[in-house]
């Protein structure tokens, strides 16, 4: 069966420090991968999505970047965190090209607090 791992679960970082959140998927290949941010009252905001290694699309220009160094690994990064980067970050995956199993599967999320 497929599983998704996202870590760390919680993170407190000072302003100006770097960030690296990692997400890996097991039990599938060539997944679509996504990073979302959840802020109070704003739902899930799509930050990045990827359809393959090295292929990253950004939905919202901001202080963050994403990389996909391996097929089932998706990394969210920042060189210098801002207070406004605080939030709950969710990694998700879906089966590419499937019209049957179409849903997104989510990791357990990372609560990031920038202080």
């Amino acid at each position: 069966s497929q599983t998704i791992h996202q870590w760390p679960a919680t993170l407190v970082q000072p302003v100006g420090s770097p960030l690296s959140l990692e997400c890996t998927v097991e039990g599938t290949s060539n997944p679509n991968l996504y990073w979302y941010r959840q802020a109070a009252g704003r739902g899930l905001q799509l930050l990045f999505y990827s359809v393959g290694i090295g292929q990253i699309s950004s939905e919202v220009p901001q202080n963050l970047s994403a990389s996909r160094p391996q097929d089932r690994q998706f990394i969210l990064s920042s060189k210098k965190l801002l207070l406004s980067d605080s939030g709950f970050y969710l990694c998700a995956w879906s089966i590419r090209g499937s019209r049957i199993k179409t849903e997104a599967f989510f990791g357990q999320g990372t609560r990031l607090t920038v202080v």
Partner: protein, 117 residues
């Protein structure tokens, strides 16, 4: 661009009663998928129900059912016999299949549902 609107930020329902959560969306696409996700206090996102736009029949999953009105671009979720474990944030989501470029999901802002004992 696709947008998903949930106009009810908070709702409450008495245990064992029925509640309906509203969702509307805006798209020019004809073939797409709609979802309701549940996010309990653990914050794990759980798929509740899925609807294919090409299917006229409304999807049902046990106590959960949808009222899909394609022309009106409306997709409401009905929870029957509400249970305390239904207390959660509920997100409506839209997905368009883009072939080789993959699937993209768009979420509403959520409805916080509280089931009152």
């Amino acid at each position: 661009a696709q947008t998903v609107t949930q106009s009810q930020p908070e709702m409450s329902v008495q245990e064992a009663e029925t509640v309906t959560l509203s969702c509307t969306y805006d798209t020019s696409e004809n073939n797409y998928y709609l979802f309701w996700y549940k996010q309990p206090p653990s914050r794990q996102m759980i798929l509740v129900i899925r609807q294919e736009a090409y299917k006229q029949q409304n999807a049902t999953e046990n106590r959960f059912s949808v009222n899909f009105q394609k022309a009106a671009k409306s997709f409401s979720l009905k929870i029957s016999d509400s249970q305390l474990g239904d207390t959660a944030m509920y997100f409506c989501a839209f997905m368009k299949h883009y072939g080789r470029t993959g699937n993209q999901f768009y979420f509403g802002t959520g409805t916080s549902l509280t089931v009152i004992p």
